[in-house]
Symmetry: C5
Amino acid sequence: MEVEFIRLADEIPECEFLIEGYPGIGMVGVIAIRHVVTECGAEPAFVMKIEDMPTAAIVHEGRVYPSAGVFVLDDLSFFYAEQADMRPGVVQKISESVAELSREIGVECIVCLAGIRAPDLEDEPSLYYAATSDKAAELFEGIAEPLKGGTITGVSGPLLLEGSLRGLDAVCLLVETPGTYPDPKAASRVVEALNEALGLSVDVSKLEEEAERIAKAVEETVQRLREQQRMEEEEAEPTERMFV
Amino acid sequence: MEVEFIRLADEIPECEFLIEGYPGIGMVGVIAIRHVVTECGAEPAFVMKIEDMPTAAIVHEGRVYPSAGVFVLDDLSFFYAEQADMRPGVVQKISESVAELSREIGVECIVCLAGIRAPDLEDEPSLYYAATSDKAAELFEGIAEPLKGGTITGVSGPLLLEGSLRGLDAVCLLVETPGTYPDPKAASRVVEALNEALGLSVDVSKLEEEAERIAKAVEETVQRLREQQRMEEEEAEPTERMFV
Amino acid sequence: MEVEFIRLADEIPECEFLIEGYPGIGMVGVIAIRHVVTECGAEPAFVMKIEDMPTAAIVHEGRVYPSAGVFVLDDLSFFYAEQADMRPGVVQKISESVAELSREIGVECIVCLAGIRAPDLEDEPSLYYAATSDKAAELFEGIAEPLKGGTITGVSGPLLLEGSLRGLDAVCLLVETPGTYPDPKAASRVVEALNEALGLSVDVSKLEEEAERIAKAVEETVQRLREQQRMEEEEAEPTERMFV
Amino acid sequence: MEVEFIRLADEIPECEFLIEGYPGIGMVGVIAIRHVVTECGAEPAFVMKIEDMPTAAIVHEGRVYPSAGVFVLDDLSFFYAEQADMRPGVVQKISESVAELSREIGVECIVCLAGIRAPDLEDEPSLYYAATSDKAAELFEGIAEPLKGGTITGVSGPLLLEGSLRGLDAVCLLVETPGTYPDPKAASRVVEALNEALGLSVDVSKLEEEAERIAKAVEETVQRLREQQRMEEEEAEPTERMFV
Amino acid sequence: MEVEFIRLADEIPECEFLIEGYPGIGMVGVIAIRHVVTECGAEPAFVMKIEDMPTAAIVHEGRVYPSAGVFVLDDLSFFYAEQADMRPGVVQKISESVAELSREIGVECIVCLAGIRAPDLEDEPSLYYAATSDKAAELFEGIAEPLKGGTITGVSGPLLLEGSLRGLDAVCLLVETPGTYPDPKAASRVVEALNEALGLSVDVSKLEEEAERIAKAVEETVQRLREQQRMEEEEAEPTERMFV
């Protein structure tokens, strides 16, 4: 069950950072990277192929793109996948392949993006980080809090260790999210943190709008369900109340 | 779990196009290719063998044929299979092997045939395309519409990418189909599009007749079910209506 | 998951024909070959070993024999197995190994024996054939009818193709059978057809007797079940009829 | 899924016989060999390791022993395992490895020990044998009866064939057993037969005592269950008989 | 399914002992080793990687650590894992890899830590040992009792055999535990035994405190459940007692 990255472009520039966004809690990594790639016009550089899992073709305006791979923008590379293959052996191989690829294209620091479950989150989501070295930790000092304790799984956890075993710095940026649906609001906070840490200026207004649309849709759904429940109760009541 | 194409003929001519029809939505690719192969007398050139899945023998007038493989007609090659092996690893290997074989026999452009689900389709089915390059897109410009967005899975999706990774042009022709039963009508539209794009003149009257037979059989089944339901309701009613 | 044939005898004579009888519909191939081997005293020549499935030992009068392998009689070789391993990958490997072995021992024509389901068969079962070449078809012309259409699966289907891919002639002899229990009557017809096609003179009276025994046993079972049902109905009736 | 025998002693003497006792019907082989090994002080010579199944450690008086392997006593070697791994691929590999090891340590005759189910056995259990050659059959002539017919599975069946394929003599000694619990009485008969066939003088009194203990325990359990059932019936009866 | 130990430190000192604590009954090995490692500040030396199972990242104060591996303290090495992978093939490979690693870093004696189930344990838990040699047994003579009989499974059992097959001494220290929840009290006794056997002076007061916390929490839970049950019975009783 091999995982391979196959080069699309003839030449790939050296990249100082690789930023990882594999499907996980609240899809924050995927949403953040998809936004940065689209907003800044990053170029597809590698297709990811899993030996026994076909890579689907994503269609956009009559043109075909890979559903998993690496995009490049200046000295930044972005690994992301539209669909999650969560088989443990695949997750392990992806982590190894991404770390290996990072080394090959000159990456010095791997940045993992992940959600951290906060079921009752009401305010702005908080940001945390966990790093393999002081140097990696510095990237988000002042931007996020060091995470006290816990376990990082998915692709991010083993990728931190795999990077470290290859002599690279690695740090995970974690954002609070209820995690019950894709969360562009949390993703927006992640992009802002990347802006600050990496000196970018990616506009997040589209993510904010999407977050508002989702919030409104959720609100409406909740309203409709309540209304529906109320009406069912009313329908049900008369016969029960008759002899009260 | 290897997938191999084993040569049947001593010499295979160079082919400019490979047209793919693996079982999928509405079976449109399989039906279209089976029709072209039979109608034009294409010759069997390769048997497809999946390592751990026996290739059945198809019998026709006392003679035995492989149930999956490649047929050749002038500078066109046709890949098709009577039965679907939908295990993800097999789908991926088939895509790779077909792309590899295409390169070996000189193919310049891979044409994938697929159905696109249109549950409430009433009128003539529309045709769409999605391509990996401008040159591949040209093939169906004016014949079909560029597909706005979506995901192409099955063998077609990864085959588009695998072709592209080998420097071949690749394009998918998609036809609308309810997708609930094999759809020779949609397949007929596909064959007409191939006629126009590739300068063929394959007669589609048998597909039209088969489409009418199926439409009629479906109509009769629907009628019979309605009649049956009506009679069951009548049978059921008397005792219930007695005291009305 | 390899399949191997391991030589038992020091020298194996060249064989013109290999006749295959793997467990399938009505067990006609297995019964026919077991009968010919026993009746004519064919010699064990190869043991078949499936990598991850132990080959059981068959005991006969204090002596041990392999439960799957090839027996040889003059210029005829017989492949058969007492127990079926129907995993698709094993069926494919058996087909390949039998075709390969056939080539190694000089076989020119592979003859597959199979049942064809005829649930309501009352009269004598009909015989059909399907061949990979004119020469193979000739073997059963005048003895059986060419099969109009259908799909041959099990070991026979892929073995026909595998033989063909190795330049051997191959033909399948199919006999009608209800297929609900082992059918020595259909097997007897198969042996008679082999007698005629290959110039043998194997006596089939034991198969006929076995067929009569089975027919009688089935008849008795049916009678007993009917009687039992009638008695249960009688036992059940009194209390229900009491107030009639 | 490899099976290996790893040498414990620096030098292993040539052994004329290998006697096999893998868990099976009534555990007769295991019990017989465990008894001979303990009674005669055979030395551990090989540990058996199955690639994907840990070999447990058996503790006896503060010391650790392997739970599966080969013990040696003069020119006799004994293969046994405390726990059964009945996966077909493992059974096949064990048979091959034991036959291979036999050849390596100079074995001329493999003796398999097995139970043969006799559910209603009242008298002394009978002994049977089935051999791959006249020479192997001679070992138990006059001691056991040749087995008329049947199928030998487990490790014993394929081991007989594997030995035979390597030019070794092989014979299976089968003893009747109800097979519903470990049966030291049947094992005792097996040891007596080995005494006679191989010129040993292993005392079986401990097996006889164990057999009596088990017989007594079974008897007591049956008595207790009957008593319990009788009392439950008595408890249940009064209310039901009240109005009789 | 390979298991690898990947070196973290540039140089690893020779270690006389390797002490193993893989998750098992009462988690005594894991708890004991985690305590010694934390209390004495042992250094991470190797990460354990299972081919098809990602190694999670453990976060502690914003810093990332591997969840399975080897820590080193003077001439002692400690193997432990936070999470159990109990697939038999993995357990076997871990045993082999730990034994192999032990040999590579100069270990002379492997010490396995395990729980032994004592469901009704009231007093202080007893300590037992089982060894592969007299020399290994000496380590715990006077500290624990030799175990009369039994089977050691998990990682400890095969590790004892694997060490022995590589010429290393190996001994298992077993402590009684109810085994129904993680048992720091039993782990504390294990650490005291290690102190005595290896001449350490690890303070166990934190384990004792944790044991008291757990004992108190268990006690409170039991109390609460009893109280709850009593209240439910009271609620339920009135209607039932009414007519008593």
